[in-house]
């Protein structure tokens, strides 16, 4: 099966999912190219897992379609399922099985058998750092090891696509770093889609971010693109000494300026200082006007800056309505 550069590896088109009264997905469309690592970012309950469950052929969409390598997940379910490795949310494992037997079991069902499987198990175990616990019963393993055994399972057949649902949940900070490095490493020759609600994860591991909120995509791009898109008219932040001024008085002065769109107080940790955020009406930079205003008002000017949203800000902004 040849994969031309033009056809995306994963193509999600107008995906809807209704669970009874609840609409978990409300028309999601995006595509992922071969070799990309894409982060699926959103607060809990945003619809990330639902989308991944449809992609992995576990549940059907209410409407819309997902194509993986050009094949529809519903029409060619079995063929599609051969092509990915899947780490479901919370890494479900058979707790009564020995880790080695578990990998052997999944490998056999994945069509890796005999000598090939015997060679492959130590390889993936090594990659995922579970070599030492292969002989242990899964139920006796720590959360971190379970997560990695489950990841090893997803890699056993050397899939072209990896679908990872919250791969770092429940791990300690060192393990998180290890797993992220591993994902980055795996992503060199594979297409990876991972879901998370942790921002740094996306920044560290992903080429592209899809932010999903209440079943809709609210942003889609590289971290840089998202920051640039937000940067067209960033708000100005003004910090002044409190000096007996009331924040309401300052706010009303700010709001009274013809160039100021809106203004609000921002909490500051320091006593004796106040901070305000001013959005200008036009597209122009309002810093100079803010400085002149502060001087005219004889406020003790401490700081004026433009606030470029970082990814966290973008995330918060796009997921708070």
């Amino acid at each position: 099966m040849s994969q031309s550069a033009a056809t995306p590896m994963i193509e999600v088109a107008d995906l809807w999912k209704r669970y009874g009264e609840i609409e978990a997905l409300k028309g999601i469309s995006f595509s992922i190219n071969k070799g990309e690592i894409v982060g699926f970012l959103g607060p809990n309950g945003a619809g990330k897992s639902t989308c991944l469950k449809i992609m992995t052929c576990f549940i059907p969409p209410t409407s819309g379609s997902v194509r993986i390598g050009g094949l529809d997940v519903q029409e060619h379910s079995r063929a599609v399922r051969k092509r990915f490795g899947y780490l479901p949310e919370s890494a479900p494992l058979y707790t009564d099985m020995v880790a080695y037997d578990y990998l052997k079991f999944v490998g056999a069902l994945r069509g890796v058998t005999g000598r090939k499987l015997a060679k492959r198990i130590p390889e993936v175990a090594e990659k995922c750092g579970v070599t030492d616990v292969l002989g242990q019963v899964v139920g006796t393993l720590s959360k971190g090891y379970r997560q990695r055994v489950c990841l090893a399972q997803a890699l056993i057949h050397d899939p072209e696509i990896l679908v990872l649902d919250e791969p770092t949940v429940g791990l300690d900070p060192n393990q998180v770093v290890e797993i992220r490095t591993l994902i980055k490493d795996l992503g060199r020759e594979r297409t990876v889609i991972l879901s998370t609600h942790i921002l740094p994860e996306v920044l560290v591991t992903c080429d592209r971010v899809v932010i999903i909120h209440r079943g809709k995509i609210v942003a889609n791009g590289t971290p840089q693109e998202l920051q640039e898109a937000q940067a067209s008219n960033p708000p100005v932040v003004l910090r002044i000494g409190a000096d007996g001024l009331s924040s309401e008085a300052v706010l009303s002065t700010l709001r009274g300026q013809p160039w100021a769109g809106s203004a609000r107080v921002r909490p500051v940790g320091l006593a004796g200082e106040m901070e305000f955020e001013i959005a200008s009406k036009g597209a122009d930079d309002a810093r100079e006007r803010t400085i002149s205003l502060a001087q005219a008002q004889k406020w003790r000017l401490l700081e004026v800056r433009r606030e470029l949203l970082d990814l966290e800000g973008i995330f918060r902004k796009s997921t708070q309505e």
Partner: protein
Amino acid sequence: MGNIWVMGKKEFASYFASPIAYVAIAVFLVVVGLKFFIVDTFFKTGEASLRSFFELVPAFFVFYLPAIAMRLVSEEKRLGTFELLATLPVSDAEIVLGKFTGALGFLKITLLLTLVYPLMLGLLGAPDWGAIIGGYIGLLLIGSAFLAIGLMASTWTRSQIVAYILGAVLSSLFFFIDRILAAFFEEAKKVAEYFSFSSHFSNFTRGVIDTRDLVFFVSMIALCLVVATFSLNRRRWN
């Protein structure tokens, strides 16, 4: 075929990964042994037959085999492992048949361990081997049918307890239906007997292997497994 075998082996092994299987087998053997030696006073009657064995075991199976089958799917649903299993390139029918194969292995082990009774009879007297072989074939069939019922019930719920209760209720209904119905309507007896596991089973213990009984059990098993497959497949419906 390969996938079914892989799943069956895994299920079979997982029975013996915990002490529960050993306890279950031990309880079964003790109860059967008590009945055989103490209640029926095998040594006093001096009869070289397994009649009482073949009366007790199916009735015991009604409550024993649903316990063996209850965890097959419900536990996967509760642990969330079902999601992983279902996203492997394995069909729902293969999952059901694999699980059934594993449970069947457990039943075979249980029956194998009881072979000590016919062997003993053979040493001490001259039993009717036809009745014994027929009886064992009957036990394998009726046991498989109870397992299929239990497996079907296990696909309906995430709770093992609920799966057990549903499995045991359905099993006892099919086992005792002729006796239950006959108590109320004399005329329903003929129909009830057709659906009754016990009346189909009793032919085997006389050494009679009737195609009608074979067809009955095999189609009962097939029906339950098909329903189980549909019930797994339901998540794919909108």
